[in-house]
Symmetry: C2
Subunit: 371 residues, 2 copies
């Protein structure tokens, strides 16, 4: 194997595939990055067996071949390389990877590329095309609502509820639920289907995508999802299990609709949280409304208490309700419209936030029972 | 007590004094910020008994008085307050601090201000005036060389070696030593004296100062140092003990002087460090020179090995030497000149870095004995 390339493209590729390397790899080969010089293309691959990433960059290949190097070291190296052409080649009996730049030379230990679990080349399955921007928006608006408790794996995931007409992305930790719907640019599916993909992994993958209209090809098999861009292939394991019937928990109607500025509400909730923390505060804030005023109260024996007023437009009878402030905060951080509806049905029924002018998204919060 | 002020100035004051609050305060009152409304001035004070900070801002005082509030909560609150005037007043039988803004109100628990250990009002002692920029430069160039091992307290400090002509600031952890000298704008001292101040604390204080010529008044008593600016008073405890005779370890002469680009050397050392890490690498890099080339080598059974070439100007016979790369890296990060001298005497004698064109600073590294 021998090739030369620029530092910039190599660094991009190494950064991308490094996201699939487990920091606690128990099988030594999985701590490595597989690299293969083909005709004028370098392919890098890393996987932790849950997530696999393959990234291709243009290089000048002198001799084809492959090797595996430690991912952490290779990443550190790529960041420190000087500008200008860099040459890589294999040499020695216990093959080492030589890295040459200027007059200097780094020699890295390697692992046997035969042992590396490569990603499957072609996958058959249902097929979708999204824009990369759409995928990123989905991860921003939905993933945070998933649970981090691995004992119920399906709640750590985002449900992709796919029909020919639309895709719905849903995440919940049972205390709150986020739902976004959207249309695929193209969709070839056998029948409606539901797949669950790990929320944290989706967020990681989103960081490797662009914010724009560039397309993301998605293939879904029985057990895996494949995401493809020009330069990158990502394989995710599908989480097994039946996702709860999320439609049943979303109220079809509301009794009271408040319209409120997202920023004003977020600022007030942030301040109210000061008196909601601590052992006895239990993160609870109490909301009540009166004509054009939403009142937020919180009380903590350790800190003190707070009374916040926010200007709102109230339609319907006032319904007092109490929430864990964190669940409100999380949603108010990601909603980008100026105003939001807060739809309430009863003191002990879920409240629903809907961005004003954005029908595709809703966020549901289960209230807290207070004395 | 009742006063009103703007959020911006309050936040500046709270941020400043918060640096003196221990996150593990065992005496409850020390987890608090003392605040006292005087005629049109608010004074905030915090201390962990090692470091005390007092900060004064202009306010509109309606009624003078004092209280103590939890520092962490008060800091969080100040960050979350809205723009616009904010009113503070004490009310209730178990006095609470009320904070009013718009129509909202926060009520904070308080502690007894009589229990708070205030800073001494006036201190007699030796007197120096530095610029704030000079103080910041000192912390940047010297503090990092101090030790973090509290078992030998004087090595965790920076020595201030004060004579009527100059001040020398010295820090060492016995593996390397940084020395900066400078002239005070004004200096009224009884006799030459040496005081040791905690390096970490000096760095913390530097963050509260400006980069410019604004003056910093320094008073040094037997056991404390007082630093004063327009708005702030900082009291530091002097570390007891006799500082080692640092002059004895600084070579008076050198046999070989290399002149090298700081950036080129820093980049090469960074890359060489890749093959110097790990259990068996022991952080060692080996330097040797030949005409106009400085060669850096490192070797780690786990990673591989590296050979780096850096262009240098060598005066004198080549002297091979080995360093812990971290000690070189630390100094190359803070030296801002283009070039640096590396002065060597022998393979097992300390090497000395001196920024080219900057006589006031030197940095000494004890070499490593290799086989």
């Amino acid at each position: 194997m021998e090739f030369s390339c620029s530092r910039g493209e190599l660094l991009e590729a190494v950064n991308a595939v490094s996201r699939a390397v487990s920091s606690r790899a128990t099988i030594p080969i999985l701590s490595g990055i597989y690299m293969e010089a083909l005709d004028d293309v370098l392919r890098l691959v890393a996987t932790d067996m849950e997530l696999g990433i393959e990234y291709t960059i243009p290089v000048k290949t002198v001799q084809t071949g492959s090797t595996v190097v430690n991912a952490r070291i290779f990443n550190e190296m790529a960041r420190r390389l000087p500008e200008g052409p860099i040459t890589f080649y294999i040499s020695g009996e216990t093959p080492a990877l030589k890295v040459r730049y200027h007059g200097s030379e780094l020699t890295l230990n390697t692992m046997n590329p035969q042992e590396f679990p490569l990603l499957p080349a072609i996958l058959d399955g249902d097929h979708l095309i999204l824009t990369q921007g759409q995928f990123k928006e989905m991860t921003r608006l939905v993933c945070f609502a998933a649970s981090t408790d691995e004992s119920r794996p399906w709640f750590t995931g985002v449900l992709w509820d796919i029909s020919p007409e639309e895709v719905r992305w849903v995440a919940t930790d049972t205390h709150r639920l986020a739902l976004l719907s959207g249309q695929a640019t193209e969709s070839v599916i056998q029948q409606n289907r539901q797949v669950i993909l790990h929320a944290k992994t989706l967020s990681d993958v989103a960081r490797l995508l662009s914010d724009d209209e560039a397309s993301l090809q998605i293939t879904i098999t029985r057990s895996q999802a494949l995401l493809e861009t020009d330069r990158m292939r990502v394989i995710l394991r599908i989480i097994e299990g039946q996702y709860p019937k999320y439609q049943q928990v979303i109220p079809r109607d509301y009794k009271t609709r408040m319209t409120v500025s997202v920023k004003a509400l977020a600022d007030s909730v942030d301040r109210a949280s000061l008196a909601a923390i601590g052992k006895e505060g239990s993160n609870i804030i109490k909301l009540s409304s009166d004509k054009n005023t939403l009142t937020i109260r919180a009380n903590s024996p350790e800190v003190g208490h707070i009374y916040e007023e926010v200007f709102v437009d109230v339609g319907g009878d006032p319904i007092p309700i109490a929430f864990n402030y964190r669940y409100l905060q999380d949603a108010l951080k990601v909603i980008t419209t100026d105003d939001v509806y807060m739809d309430l049905t009863a003191t002990l029924a879920p409240g629903v936030l809907r961005p004003v002018g954005e029908e595709r998204y809703l966020y549901l919060i289960v209230p807290v029972r207070t004395v």
